[in-house]
Point group: C2
Chain length 342, copies 2
């Protein structure tokens, strides 16, 4: 219980529900840093593997949540989206006072489930922007979050900056602290703003990769034989398990529709210009090149691999609960800036 | 002149016109293998660099082509598409009996320029499927073609299998031999079939990357800040110099339009399904996943890097000029197979 006493002050124990790629990697990273952490997974074989490797894991949800309650742990919901409602219900029953975060890749839908249950004062949403192409405990590994963006939501505070509780401010700090502890960069964003952004840079890339894979394949054996780097990279995420892609896209359908409509408009215009008398794709290609250059300038070198430190993102120093800290979060959201919590 | 005497039998000298990424890399590779090779580049500074490194290069086109004629060289046109007409004219004037190949990424347009000039009996088209993101002599390097597909066209023979000259058969063998010598895999294809295939797996990926880059960028600072692997890989080729992308796409507009129309149809259908009552992208995602898996199965491991040997492509052994060799080429084209020339 020593760990817990320390944890209350600075290293609150973390309880990870779901030990797939994200949850499992979080368990590994926190464990490696000596952080008090334990986890639940539905699959007894994954739990056995984890325990054999020296991790603290259980396949009994009730026991795990009751322990979280006893130890005052931060609960991280790391299951796929479809399991979130039942997990929230279980948390209400077995861990009625714990703070809750999650790692689901869409945030408005989760927030709505949270609000339906009146849990918003105990909830801060999270989304680490890290790999999805492989899944399961076996894909989990240390260092997955190094340099990655980890969105931390703040709707509860944005809606009522003055009325937000001390408990919630402490929870926000805890979530940001855990994300930073595993090497991620904390980017604040409200759930709707987050969903609109990821529709463009995560869900749309999946949709386009699927379409490209199909049209290439329609070209038959010769086309696939000639496919080189541009096709390989452009279709890479079409290799993601279909159920994961569907869960992301369908849960974020409104924002994805907007991004998809913009894309279809661009392609229809390009088609018209290409079929026209001048047969030109100048407009699309010049604009696309400029956009990619802007992205590269922002991404810097750090985004390519996982091991280099720091990114080109602007940084804001934020003290949770201090006057105007919510305005700072809104400013960071607009800039895509990361925050250093002090 | 010793080299030439040997060359006539097995190592015909190669004259590379244009020392950019492709032409320069070909010069380097052939030189490294002791092959008699010399080149022309319009830029005296690139020529000086090449000569300083011990290569045989000149910035005088006339001299270079006259030397090619004297030495019975195979001429490789490695200039961008817009320069091809004037280069063909120069070859007619200064190297009236040399065999000609090229490395342009679209083939019907080049073949049409060749036929306009009555050069088809001296021409075999080529297209190495190797990197385009960087350009110029400075980007050229040894090993670029290792394991890459190198399309070699055979329209002249397909149109009239019995009537094709011995000279042309020898030229086809020479082009295939040079491609193999630098580690590439020879894939036979007729110009129209080639162009339809590359529209799907090379030109379409560029168009989609441009559109994705723009739509992501439209999401502003937060979207670019959150962009991770799927956006990075999906937009990578939007970083290609716009003039190169335009040249590829616009020269191959008819085939690209067909591929683009298929893509737009898929996206419009997906949009309708996503906006519908069930809000599902199942159809697109399941089909895209199956297509990507098929591609991965064909690509094998070899396609990822440049240094591993062999690919998963089927192989046909072909003896140029032997009975039914043209049928074998057609069979290889349908299978996306590589041919071993003996």
């Amino acid at each position: 219980m020593c760990a817990m006493l320390v944890g209350v002050m600075s290293m609150r124990p973390v309880c990870v529900i779901g030990l797939g790629l994200i949850g499992g990697s979080l368990l590994r990273d926190l464990h490696a840093k000596g952080w008090p952490v334990f986890g639940f997974n539905r699959s007894p074989s994954a739990v056995k593997q984890a325990c054999d490797e020296g991790f603290d894991a259980s396949s009994c949800l009730e026991d795990t949540l009751q322990r979280a309650e006893r130890e005052g742990a931060l609960i991280v919901l790391a299951t796929p989206m479809p399991a979130i409602p039942s997990m929230l219900d279980a948390v209400m029953e077995h861990a009625p006072s714990c703070g809750i975060t999650d790692v689901v890749s869409v945030k408005a839908e989760v927030y709505s489930l949270v609000c339906e249950r009146g849990l918003q004062d105990r909830y801060v949403g999270g989304h680490p922007m890290a790999g999805t192409a492989n899944s399961g405990w076996e894909a989990a590994h240390e260092g997955l979050f190094q340099g990655a963006a980890w969105v931390v939501t703040f709707d509860q505070a944005a809606e009522d900056p003055e009325g937000v509780s001390e408990q919630w401010v402490g929870l926000w700090r805890d979530v940001a602290t855990v994300a930073s502890a595993v090497g991620a960069e904390v980017i604040p964003a409200r759930v709707g703003v987050h969903d609109a952004a990821v529709a463009r840079i995560s869900h749309l890339p999946h949709v386009l990769a699927e379409a490209l894979a199909i049209v290439g394949d329609n070209g038959g054996a010769l086309a696939l034989s000639l496919a080189a780097g541009s096709f390989r990279d452009g279709t890479r995420v079409a290799g993601t398990v279909p159920s994961l892609v569907r869960a992301m896209c369908e849960t974020n359908n409104v924002a994805l529709l907007a991004a998809l409509d913009e894309t279809i408009d661009l392609l229809v215009d390009a088609r018209a210009n290409l079929a026209g008398e001048e047969s030109s794709v100048e407009e699309l290609v010049d604009a696309g090149y400029r956009s990619r250059v802007r992205y590269e300038a922002r991404a810097g070198e750090a985004r390519g691999g996982a091991s280099t430190g720091g990114s080109n993102r602007p940084v804001l120093r934020v003290k949770p609960g201090a006057p105007k800290w919510v305005s700072q979060l809104e400013q960071a959201e607009a800039l895509g800036a990361r925050v250093d919590v002090f």
